[in-house]
Subunit: 551 residues, 2 copies
């Protein structure tokens, strides 16, 4: 007895049921045209995209989704389609998966484990299902589960006990560093324990701060992975089962919507950085495309952050859709201007240089009376950063191009950024990338082809807002800062614990105090791509008004 | 048998356990010095403030709170203290209330109903309790409940069935228009059904976008309110029970931390507006005070929004702590400058006038080459708004004064505001106030004393960013806009439903489309005070990247 299952690793558009409906129809048609197939499996909440957030509270939205599901039942009655949708039973809403076959909805499974931690808020919307769902299809008994469910061995076992011979799991499981390994290890172990093959279908693509990595896979009953799809690429994969065991992967039809990077990615030692870089490219490209921008612009300072963001933007959007703007002040070193220009030329993007002195002078004059007899402080530095923001936003507004903001996670953490200045922008590609990792990613990208001038990688980092300024004037070195931040923010360690790990009490105190005081800036910052287990945004929800002092 | 219960309607500081601990100690001391008292009841999560958000995920924070609770048990062993705290049992976290008496923790109740909708995320942090808690105290059986619990009649009944003669409920119940009436009606009906007197103690004060209204009350077993505390004021109230029935209110000691407004509030017809106005004043004053600012500044345009915000700021902080800045451009009418100046003089605040032309000209020159041969559009309007933002932020930075941003809910809804321009600022007092209500509140405030020039109330609203511009050039009149917005945003109605209610399909389409497209602006906006059932912020969580089109 054989069964051919298509894993549809696809990129839905949150909120647009028509687009997603059409994507399902096109995909089903494409799969059937290329291969005889039995079951076609889409990701979690495919019909509405993930996460739809408070759109789920709209009656019109839910009714449209339910109507679309009924229509879908008729598009290919001779195959089985498994698709995620929000199910309303007249009283409660469920995160459900429907099996469509022979023109009907032949089975519905309701997600039992609703994640409500980290970036997830599913209890806000959904009621938990209470039982497994196993359906018979062409002589095989197939169980269903949705994302979080399959992280729990009891759910896997209960589905097996209910008679499942194969478990399909529909997912919208967002990326963070190490997630795929964690996911595969756990799910393989559950497959092995229950002696149940698992077909894991994940979404792919960027949605605001989340990026789904795909990396769908199939395990056999021994918990061994027999097939794994690519990361960050839309992909249709077909796996054949014989008597309930996955046989081998059938060569997959080429993806219609695959990403292609200009440079091919090197395998091997760089694999970890490659994966993060792919996540950033995918997240940036989807944000720009899904929000209908005509391209992107960014301020290119000659520093490492904007250099990396330019590389990401070009790899995501193509050189012709990216503009770089240098905005020198009297504190900008000549080498910064040179390096910005060199990179723009290497990458083939349109390049502007607009000195900000006229605006800075105008503001200085306008504020002269008010600021009389006050010493210069960060106010004057912020004015420069804000003049740059005004110019960049004007260029963004005039052309309908998205302004990318280039701040990294270390800066976001300690508030080393000017609100309405360098923080201007609609999207922050490296917001969750700590400074030391920025350097690694830049080196990784240069290993594919040299796009960032070497001097940008080696010179001391500076905001260039006052004479001879260096980051290390106001902050500990990044070799000290980044590990403290990781412990305080991502691992929720206390000051005592961080000091016990070998950092000086002075550094720990200084860093934690900066983090605690900067929440107001982060709250008004652009969304950016989450790559860590605790990104700023949905993931770390701190009060602005807070008497908490980590030290 | 008599029992004297003190209701402590108090304003804790989220995250600062030391401050809250000291406030509890001071309050207990003050109450005992002034009256013989049996039980002293504080609000929900008093020890850590509400809502502490992700601070609850920090082990150091929870341990500090638990240690503080043990210390509290010893401060007044001869009275009973009931206080809300986060309880960690080594595995799970609970939203709990402890009874402290005779030097011990003599009872602990765990909240059973955890709200996870609207502004609430309690399932993210807490495990639900599973049973009522009734303790004996001086011969009376007293039940405990926490906030959401008492909105459920089954919890009230179960506590009665467990033997309670009086039910104490600890709350951090945030204000919105109509909330107090809704709360009292429901809880009184539950008291009546269960024949159980309820002592309702609510928090008071502002915390980011939330403002707690206090309005604590006591019902008898017939569900009649026998005592009600004031709104938006810290207050200690004492109610005496005899044989389980509330007798009468004992005159309360004067509040140490009460707000006092310069003008006394008129009772009567204006009551609804008065309450909202108090909420805005309280929210603003607490944000400034709790975040340690030296005062506030704002741009005063001569329009109604900034006029109302100036009045709120002065009533919240006192005239000497507020500065108003007029930032005229060549499109600013003379009457706008005049009216701004007149109001600043009436209210006695420091006033500056800084024309923005020099900066606008500088940017125009800097962008001339780039913008050659492009027609003027909103880009040039935005540059003006952003020049104002740069000046105001410079003044804010230099003096350590909070910049208040003056946008109203109608603008926030349709995106009629410039990101990094007039949206600059750390706090948005009227962010949740629709334009028509802005006028009502201004008239209400003028009824106390005329502070806003009459012409500001009567002239047509204009952003003054282009010649003879009026809001009605780009938007439907507010008489049409505001009701459509209320239906779409607060009531989640569909376009069809709104049209069916009598609005033109063109207006509905235009408005909804503006709302849908403006999420990116709102995401970078300042927090502001929630007064409606669905404010922008924690309350309405929409994706930025969204294919949903309400029409």
């Amino acid at each position: 007895m054989t069964l051919k299952i298509a894993l549809i690793q696809t990129n839905s558009l949150v909120g647009n049921i028509t687009t997603n409906f059409n994507l399902i129809v096109e995909t089903v048609t494409a799969v059937r045209n290329r291969s005889d197939i039995d079951l076609i499996v889409f990701p979690e909440l495919m019909l509405v995209g993930y996460p739809p957030e408070d759109l789920l509270l709209r009656r019109d939205f839910i009714l449209t989704a339910n109507n679309a599901l009924f229509e879908l039942a008729n598009i290919a009655p001779d195959v089985g389609i498994v698709v995620g949708f929000p199910e309303f039973d007249g009283k409660n809403l469920y995160n459900s998966a429907a099996v469509l076959s022979e023109g009907c909805i032949s089975a519905v499974y309701r997600k039992q484990k609703l994640p409500n931690y980290g970036v997830f808020d599913e209890v806000r919307y959904f009621t938990a299902g209470e039982k497994p769902c196993v359906f018979e299809f062409k002589g095989q008994f197939i169980g269903l589960s949705i994302c979080e469910d399959v992280w729990h061995s009891d759910i896997v076992q209960a589905t097996k006990d209910a008679g499942a011979e194969i478990l399909l799991t529909l997912n919208a499981s967002p990326f963070h560093v190490g997630k795929a390994q964690q996911r595969e290890a756990l799910i393989c172990s559950h497959a092995k324990t229950a002696q149940l093959p698992i077909v894991y279908v994940n979404a792919v693509g960027g949605q605001d701060e989340l990026v789904f990595d795909g990396a769908s896979f199939v395990t056999n009953a021994e918990g061994k992975i027999v097939f794994r799809a690519e990361e960050f690429v839309e992909q249709i994969s077909i796996v054949e089962f014989e008597n309930g065991q996955p046989l081998k992967q059938i060569p997959q039809p080429p993806s219609k919507r695959g990403l292609s990077f200009a440079p091919p990615f090197q395998k091997g030692g760089w694999e970890g950085f490659a994966l993060i870089y792919k996540a950033l490219v995918r997240g940036t490209s989807d944000y720009v495309r899904k929000n209908g921008f005509k391209g992107a612009i960014l301020g290119l300072s000659g520093g490492i952050d904007s250099a990396l963001v330019l590389a990401i933007a070009v790899d995501a959007l193509g050189a012709k859709n990216v503009e770089a703007v240098s905005l020198p002040s009297k504190y900008t070193l000549e080498m910064s201007n040179d390096d910005a220009k060199i990179q723009a030329e290497i990458m083939g993007v349109k390049y502007h240089s607009i000195p900000i002195e006229p605006a800075v002078k105008a503001f200085t004059g306008m504020l002269a009376a008010t600021f009389e007899n006050t010493p210069a402080d960060t106010t004057e530095e912020n004015i420069q950063a804000r003049c740059r923001g005004v110019v960049l936003m004007a260029m963004s507004n005039k052309q309908g191009k998205l302004l990318l903001t280039t701040g990294n996670k270390s800066e976001m953490s300690v508030g080393y950024a000017t609100l309405y200045g360098d923080m201007c922008g609609g999207f922050a590609p490296i917001k969750d990338v700590p400074k030391l990792l920025v350097y690694e990613l830049a080196r990784y990208r240069n290993s594919l082809s040299q796009v960032i001038p070497e001097r940008v990688l080696t010179r001391a980092p500076s905001a260039e807002l006052s004479p001879n300024q260096q980051d290390s004037d106001s902050l500990p070195s990044y070799e000290i800062l980044d590990p403290i931040l990781a412990r305080y923010i991502e691992e929720n360690q206390s000051a005592d614990e961080i000091v016990a790990a070998g950092f000086s009490p002075e550094d720990v105190k200084r860093v934690i105090s900066l983090v605690d005081r900067s929440e107001y800036k982060r709250r008004q910052s652009a969304v950016g791509i989450r790559i860590s287990e605790r990104a700023f945004g949905r993931d770390r929800r701190y009060p602005i008004t807070s008497g908490y002092r980590g030290i």
